[in-house]
Every structure is written in structure tokens, then in C-alpha cells.
């Protein structure tokens, strides 16, 4: 090798190679900061919006044969801003005064619902293993090599050109137009806007339209690099945008731009050199294969944890809202004892009837579904602890559950350890990981905590799972991550019925633990912290300690649930069960139905497992109508309506943080209370 000259040539090539994706990252980071600064929304649905534009482009151009320019105009300049405007007008405008965390949850719900909604509405199905065409004619086939070290193809040139033009237009807009000036005032100094008579609705609408256009453009431009059109790939795009935006602490547009470019360069250079270093140092090799895809997450996590200023930054509440948030909804009235007794009796009766029907009548399929519902309820109780009780959004519950599953897989596979003991060990390992993870992210709080856990989930997904001591490595590729059912003395839980009993027993125990904690010191301490952190500190509560306990407890429950699910399926099935995007849906379904109560988690578990077969397939309606023949033509409906429905329900989180079902129950019980009082 020719030493220094070769090194610089490689470095230069890496930088050139990193510029086109860096330009797209910069574009989406700009849009991200723009929405965040003008409406306080940490818009995780940006990836979904980018996906929709990319899919629309594919549909119109590749499938319908529209010319490229027309497809681009429709997907990036009509559909994208339209979605932004609709979201702003229908949802976020009404959430001005909501907390940043509730707006984040709303955005997460949208990121789950929007892609599926588009797929259903446009009858679009995911595309995989196929070259996606860019916006230039023969974009991937014609090359230019200005410096003699790296050949740009036409699409790459277009990426850089479009990003540059968009940035210049944004700068011109800020400089020369009234609305641009108003927006810049909001972005640069939120405090001033209240005084200077800026029309908040207009600023926020324009900002949403603009930033959504950027997201749409980024989606169309980046799609050719993926070789597939799957919404989860685009979700990673938003993580990259957050990483780029975090470099500028989410406040500065120029720094977000630089952050995006820098990330593109960093990834490309890293990709150039890491293979060589790992040629010399063999211990680097697993990282070489695994780290590259997850670099954005590592960067994001590092920025969040190492950049001390970020945690201290006060959360941007909506700069346009001006006034203090309204007081939250009144807590539930104290229940009438008669009503409590009645609901308890009803609950016991309901469970007894369902239980005996399942026990005596259910076939294999229904036994399986009910078991899944029970196990998912256990997992969802982990969300009840961390989100409902501690008020923290954790997006790595899937990872904790996976740790439980992988632990029993490894223990049973290598050491022949008893499966139940391994499950408890798995819960313990998950708790330890949760506690350790909570240490660096604790000071973050709020939105940042959610993002750090998301980065961790993606990191685990891209790097850790690939290690043979976690995910089983190459043997697992051949045989799968097999997990046996437990055998305790004479009782063999290999039979589905016996296993259901085991699952129910675990659910009951975990429910009791959660209730005890909620009613006890831990729960009341967390309630205090959730209500007001400064006030909690002022009476001697240590936020750090309480949160470590909550995190560890939640991780342990998730780990136990994950272990159970793996036993149930007799396989860990990591990517179908526990991938990072799954955890998003878990959060969404639990907060939609009720994150504060044990019943809420159980309802969510039931909805997760039973909603599709019972409602969407039309079984329930068929049973009511006494026959499949009377079903309207709608049925069976696609399973993705589940994502749409609960995703949209999560939008209500900002108004009813206790969950929609819980809210309904509270209202009903208040009414019945009044009625009972009147009877007296």
C-alpha cells in the first residue's frame, strides 16, 4: 500500500461517497428541526411520511408508468405537504399546550398508523428485492467522475442538487418573505413570538407543509439506496434525522444541516476504513459486520449520553402556545362501593365464563390465541410500570423481552438449565440491563429518554443480536432459536393446556406485584415524580433512584414475558416478536387502551392477540349473524387495520393519558355513581 497518499485518497473517496446520502439526511434533519422548533412536536412520524412519498412515487412512476417529473410532483410536492397540513390542522394544532412527551406519543402512534393507512388506501404492498428507480432518467446507470476517485451516478448528483436547492430556497424564504421572517423569529427566539403579533396558526401550518415536503423529498431521493420499499426501513431515516438534529441540540438549522452531512461522511469513511483495520485486528471483525448498519444509532446514543448540555436543555414546549398548560383532567371520583363490588363480580364472572369456554371448547388455534393474549398482557404490564406509573416513554421494551427469550434459548441450548429457572434468570438479566441502561439516560428525561431507548433498541437489533452468545449466530440460522417448554417434576407444560395455566399463573403473580407496587411506596413516589419533579425533590425524593427501580422492574417484567412468549412459540422468533418497531406498537396499544391500570394492560394483550381473528376476520360478526354467508363483503379485513386503529387511538393520549377505555370507564363510573347517590 502506498502509505499516506493512499490514505488521503481513500479518505477523499469516503467523503465524496458520503455526500449524497449526507445531503438527504441534512434535508430530513432540517425538516425535523423546523417542526420541532415551531410546534414542539418531536415528529417520529417523519419516517412514515417519507415512506408514503417514496411509495407514491413508486406507484405512480413504476407501476402506472407516469413520467418521472409528474410522479415527483404528485408524491413530494402535493401529497407530502398535504399530509403535513392535515396532521397540523386535525391533530397538532389542538395539542399546542400538551406536554412534549404526549406529543411524542401522538407522533409514535402516527408513525405506526400512517404507512398502513396509505398501504390500505392506495392498495400498496411492500416491495422487496427490487431496484427502486430514482428521479433521474437512467439514474443508476450513468456515471460522472469529477475528481477521478469516486464515480457519482446521476441519482446521487440529483440528491445533492435537490438538497442544495431546497436548502437555498428555505434560506431565501427565511430572508425575504413575511411568513419566513415570522418563522425565523419563532425558531430563533420562541419567547418573542407572543409579543410580536405573529399569526401562530399560519406559521405552524406553513412550517408543517414545508417540513413534510422535505420529508417527502428525502423519501423519494433515498429510496433507490434501499432496494426495497418497506416502511420500517424508512423509520430508520427518522432516527438518522434525530441524530443529525441532536448535533445541533435541535435548535439550530445550520447545525442540523452540518449534522446530516457529517453523518453521511462519517458513515462512508467508517465503512471505508473499518474493513482494513479489522483485517489487522481480528477482534474487530464482528463489529465490522454488525456495526456499520447501526452507526446512526450508535452516534445518536453517544450524542445523547455524552453531550451533557442536552439533558439540561429545557424541553421545547410549543413556542406558539404562549400560555401555561391547562390543568389536567380531574382524577376519577371516588367510586361507590356498590359499583366496585359489581364490577369485581362482573370481572370474575366474565373471566370464569371465558376461561371455561376456552378450557372445554377451544380448539388448537383458539388455545394458542388466548395463550398469546395472556403472555402479551404480561409484557404490557412492563409498559404499565414504566409509562403508566413512572411516566417515562421507553421504546426498548421489545429488547428487554428479547433478552428474556434469548437467555432461555442460550441456557437451555448450552447448559441444559431448567427452562423455568432460565426464565427467571432472563428476567434478572433484563432487569440488570435495564438498570445499567437507565444510568446514562436517566438525566435525559422526557423526549430524550424515549429517543435514547429507541437508539438502544436499534443498536441491539443491528449489533447484539448478531453475536452468537446472544442470538445464536450461524447455528441459529440453520435451526432457529429453539426453546423447549418447561418440565417441572411430574408436570409437563409441553401440552398447550398446561402451558396456558402456567401463563395465567404468571400473569396473576405479575399483576399482583404491579398492584402492590402501585399502591405502595414505589408507586406513590413515582406518581409524585410524574406530577412534579421539582416538588418531589423538595420533599426528599431521589428521582434517579426511583427511576432506576422503575426501569429495572419494567425490564424484568418484559424479560419474563419475552421468555414466556418464546416458550409458547418454542422459538425466540426475534424479528417477528421483538424487533424495535414492534416495541413502538406495544407502546401505542397500551397507551391507547389504558397505561395506568392492570386491566388496561390485559385489555391491550387481548386486543393484540384477538382483535385480528375476532373482529377483522369477521368471526365475531359471523357468530352474531349466525353464519359466514351473511358477512358483508368487507370481510375478512387486512390485519394492518389493527395498526391503523390503535395508532390513531394513541393520538388521544395527549388528552386522556389514562387511555381511552380507562377514560370511558371513569366517565361511566362517575355517571353510575351520581345515579347511585341519587337513589339514596
Amino acid at each position: 500500500m502506498s502509505g499516506a497518499a493512499g490514505f488521503f485518497e481513500d479518505l477523499f473517496r469516503g467523503l465524496l461517497q458520503g455526500t449524497p446520502p449526507g445531503a438527504v439526511y441534512a434535508l430530513i434533519a432540517l425538516g425535523f428541526v423546523l417542526t420541532y422548533k415551531t410546534s414542539g412536536v418531536f415528529n417520529l412520524a417523519f419516517g412514515a411520511q417519507a415512506y408514503i412519498s417514496a411509495a407514491m412515487y413508486f406507484k405512480t412512476h413504476t407501476l402506472w408508468g407516469w413520467p418521472k417529473w409528474a410522479a415527483l410532483v404528485v408524491s413530494a410536492f402535493v401529497l407530502a405537504p398535504l399530509i403535513g397540513l392535515v396532521l397540523e390542522r386535525l391533530i397538532f394544532r389542538h395539542l399546542r399546550t400538551a406536554s412534549a412527551v404526549s406529543k411524542l406519543v401522538v407522533a409514535i402512534g402516527l408513525s405506526v398508523a400512517l404507512p398502513e393507512l396509505f398501504n390500505q388506501a392506495a392498495r400498496f404492498t411492500a416491495v422487496a428485492g427490487r431496484q427502486i428507480s430514482g428521479i433521474m432518467p437512467d439514474g443508476a446507470g450513468v456515471f460522472y467522475d469529477p475528481f477521478g476517485v469516486y464515480r457519482f451516478n446521476r441519482d446521487e448528483l440529483a440528491m445533492m442538487a435537490v438538497a442544495l436547492i431546497a436548502t437555498l430556497l428555505l434560506a431565501a424564504l427565511f430572508r425575504f418573505t413575511m411568513i419566513g421572517l415570522a418563522m425565523r423569529a419563532v425558531v430563533e427566539s420562541p419567547r418573542m413570538t407572543g409579543l410580536s403579533g405573529i399569526n401562530a396558526d399560519r406559521v405552524s401550518a406553513v412550517a408543517w407543509a414545508l417540513s413534510s415536503t422535505f420529508a417527502g423529498l428525502a423519501g423519494v431521493l433515498i429510496a433507490p439506496r434501499f432496494n426495497s420499499l418497506i416502511s420500517t426501513e424508512f423509520f430508520m431515516l427518522v432516527v438518522i434525522a434525530v441524530a443529525a438534529a441532536a448535533v445541533g441540540k435541535l435548535v439550530s438549522l445550520p447545525r442540523a444541516l452540518l449534522g446530516g452531512l457529517g453523518l453521511g461522511w462519517f458513515i462512508a469513511v467508517f465503512n471505508t476504513f473499518l474493513p482494513r483495520w479489522s483485517g489487522d485486528h481480528t477482534w474487530l471483525r464482528p463489529f465490522q459486520e454488525n456495526l456499520t448498519p447501526s452507526l446512526p444509532f450508535v452516534v445518536l446514543f453517544a450524542v445523547l449520553v455524552l453531550w451533557r448540555a442536552i439533558g439540561r436543555e429545557r424541553e421545547a414546549s410549543d413556542p406558539l402556545s404562549g400560555v401555561d398548560p391547562p390543568p389536567p383532567a380531574l382524577a376519577a371520583l371516588e367510586r361507590h362501593p356498590k359499583l366496585t363490588l359489581f364490577t369485581r363480580l362482573f370481572g370474575v364472572g366474565f373471566i370464569a365464563v371465558v376461561g371455561s369456554v376456552v378450557w372445554f371448547r377451544a380448539g388448537v388455534l383458539w388455545m394458542h390465541l388466548v395463550t398469546t393474549a395472556v403472555i402479551m398482557s404480561v409484557i404490557y404490564l412492563s409498559v404499565t410500570v414504566i409509562t403508566g406509573m413512572a411516566g417515562q416513554i421507553s421504546l426498548c421494551q421489545g429488547t428487554f423481552a428479547a433478552i428474556g427469550g434469548f437467555t432461555i434459548f442460550q441456557m437451555a441450548d448450552r447448559f441444559n438449565l431448567s427452562v423455568l429457572a432460565a426464565a427467571l434468570l432472563g428476567a434478572g438479566v433484563a432487569a440488570a440491563v435495564g438498570a445499567v441502561l437507565s444510568l446514562p439516560v436517566l438525566r435525559l428525561g422526557g423526549v430524550w429518554l424515549a429517543i435514547a431507548t429507541l437508539a438502544f433498541a436499534f443498536f441491539f437489533d443491528a449489533v447484539m443480536v448478531k453475536f452468537s452468545w446472544v442470538g445464536g449466530g450461524t447455528t441459529a440460522l440453520l435451526t432457529g432459536t429453539r426453546v423447549p417448554r418447561p418440565l417441572v417434576g411430574p408436570v409437563d407444560f409441553a401440552s398447550d393446556r398446561a402451558f396456558l395455566v402456567l401463563a395465567v399463573v404468571v400473569l396473576v403473580i405479575v399483576s399482583i406485584v404491579v398492584i402492590q407496587l402501585r399502591e405502595g411506596t414505589v408507586g406513590r413516589t413515582l406518581t409524585a415524580l410524574r406530577g412534579s419533579e421539582v416538588a418531589a425533590a423538595s420533599i426528599g425524593i431521589s428521582a434517579a433512584r426511583a427511576r432506576i427501580v422503575a426501569f429495572a422492574m419494567s425490564a424484568a417484567i418484559a424479560g419474563l414475558g419475552g421468555a414466556l412468549l418464546s416458550m409458547h412459540q418454542q422459538n425466540v422468533n426475534y424479528s417477528t416478536n421483538f424487533g424495535p418497531v414492534n416495541a413502538l406498537f406495544w407502546l401505542v396499544i397500551v397507551v391507547a387502551l389504558g397505561a395506568r391500570t392492570v386491566e388496561g394492560a390485559i385489555q391491550a394483550g387481548a386486543a393484540f392477540a384477538l382483535f385480528e381473528p375476532l373482529i377483522l376476520k369477521g368471526d365475531l360478526l359471523a357468530w352474531i349473524l349466525r353464519g359466514e354467508d351473511h358477512l358483508p363483503g368487507l370481510f375478512p379485513m387486512s390485519g394492518s387495520w389493527r395498526l391503523v386503529l390503535f395508532g390513531l387511538m394513541a393520538i388521544q393520549f395527549a388528552r386522556h393519558p389514562e387511555g381511552l377505555v380507562e377514560h370511558g370507564k371513569r366517565r361511566a363510573s362517575a355517571r353510575i355513581n351520581q345515579w347511585l347517590e341519587a337513589e339514596r
Partner: protein
């Protein structure tokens, strides 16, 4: 005799501008002390330094002679510093009684996790009794079962005081308790505060810009102006001091 709470030579600068310049204050056990000054004088900044929310650039804060400069907020609270907030900070989604019970529990909440698991975490009768006693004392016993969101501002302030009292403070730091209250409400609050302080005997540091409340309630007072201490001594003398009157530009009358 060492002071209960003592700050000496405290200085704080925000991006180069001195918000507190070499300020020293002290409070003896059981004493009622006022800290007044016009808006922007640095009262809240000093308050934050005493409580550990802000670390001063220089200076020492001691509690019962122990240097607490490195202690976080919650540790100082456990060591006997209670406080209220200028903008009310209550725990949402809880009732008044639950507020007090949470505060009571913090004092003796060791091993909480394991006790919770076996069901020992729920409020104990003696804790409920203690909370009832404080609510009686503050005259808000009839509000015990109300959610805090339904309270008036004056009632909320009292709940904050009650919550602080449940931790058994040696000193209570009040941050502008009159803000947002009208004259009658302020007087009612002052009367309650005095009655409770008489029976419990803790020290009070009252931060106020409403001079009449300070005049009524405190024995001694310090005056801050533009980050510097311009007067300190018996409240009556301090308020009669021409320098103090100048700082306020004659914006109050001492009756």
C-alpha cells in the same frame, strides 16, 4: 451558636452578569426571617442556591454547621429543608391527603420495594393520623379527599405548606407565597402560617416582594438589590432604612 442555615459569600453569574454578588445570610433555629427586594434583585437565585437547585460560583452554604454545598436537592430536603413554590407545584392526579401521605412516607421509606411486594407499602393508620393532624392545623381538613386540581390557588399554597410540614422540616423556605393572591387571601395565609409556625417551631425564610407580608410576619429581614445585600437587621429598622426605600423607589408605605 451555629446558625441553622447559613450562606456566606455566595456569588452567581449568568453569562458574565452577576446575579448575586458576595451575599451572606443566616437563619437561626425557630427564627422568622424575610428576604425582600424588587423584581430581578436575585431573590430566586439565592433561594435556589440555598436549596441546591443552583450551584453558586463561590461561597458556602451550611446547614447546622455542615457544608451542604455538594448535596443534591433531595438530600437537603431530607436534612430538614422544606419549601413551597412561587408557581404552585402539586402532584397531579392525586388527592390532598395522598399528597401529605407521600411526603410522610419519604422520611421512613427504606427498603420500600420489598415492603411493597409483601403489602406493607400502603398508608398506615398512624401516617393517616399524622396527615389529618397537619390538615387540621392548616384548616383544610375538609379538603382531604379532593383532587388537587380542584383547589383554589390559596388552598393549593396551603397544601404545599402541608406537604413540606409532613417531612418535619427544621426550616421552611417560602417563595413569594402571596403572588397571585389578593389582599384578603394574603392576610388569611399569613395568619395560618403564623399560627402553624407558633405551634411547630420551625424556622422560616420568607422570600417576598410584598413588603407588608414581610413586615407582619418576620422578625428579621435582608434586602437584596441588583444582586447585592443592601441591608439586614430587625424588620422594622430595615424597612425604615432610606437606602431600602430608595431601592423600592417609594413603592410601598410602612404603616
Amino acid at each position: 451558636m451555629t446558625a441553622l442555615l447559613d450562606a456566606s459569600g455566595v456569588s452567581v453569574a449568568f453569562s458574565g452578569i452577576l446575579a448575586l454578588d458576595d451575599v451572606s445570610v443566616s437563619v437561626q433555629a425557630g427564627e422568622r426571617v424575610g428576604l425582600i427586594g424588587p423584581n430581578g434583585a436575585g431573590k430566586t437565585t439565592l433561594f435556589n442556591c440555598l436549596l441546591g437547585i443552583l450551584r453558586p460560583d463561590s461561597g458556602r452554604v451550611t446547614l447546622n454547621g455542615v457544608d451542604v454545598g455538594g448535596w443534591p436537592v433531595h438530600r437537603r430536603a431530607r436534612a430538614g429543608m422544606g419549601r413551597t413554590f412561587q408557581r404552585v407545584e402539586l402532584f397531579s392526579d392525586t388527592t390532598v391527603r395522598e399528597h401529605l401521605l407521600i411526603a410522610e412516607r419519604v422520611r421512613n421509606g427504606t427498603g420500600a420495594f420489598w415492603k411493597d411486594l409483601v403489602g406493607l407499602g400502603r398508608p398506615r393508620p398512624e401516617e393517616v393520623a399524622a396527615s389529618e393532624e397537619v390538615l387540621e392545623l392548616l384548616g383544610i381538613a375538609e379538603l382531604a379527599a379532593k383532587p388537587v386540581e380542584s383547589l383554589s390557588l390559596g388552598q393549593s399554597r396551603l397544601v404545599e405548606v402541608g406537604r413540606a410540614l409532613m417531612t418535619g422540616p427544621q426550616i421552611l423556605l417560602l417563595d413569594e407565597p402571596s403572588s397571585g393572591l389578593d389582599r384578603d387571601e394574603t392576610q388569611a395565609l399569613a395568619a395560618t402560617l403564623r399560627a402553624v409556625q407558633d405551634s411547630k417551631g420551625y424556622a422560616v425564610l420568607l422570600v417576598e416582594h410584598d413588603v407588608s407580608l414581610v413586615a407582619d410576619f418576620t422578625e428579621r429581614a435582608y434586602v437584596l438589590d441588583s444582586g447585592a445585600l443592601i441591608a439586614g437587621g430587625a424588620t422594622g429598622d430595615v424597612l425604615a432604612d432610606p437606602a431600602v426605600r430608595r431601592a423600592y423607589l417609594g413603592s410601598f408605605e410602612v404603616s
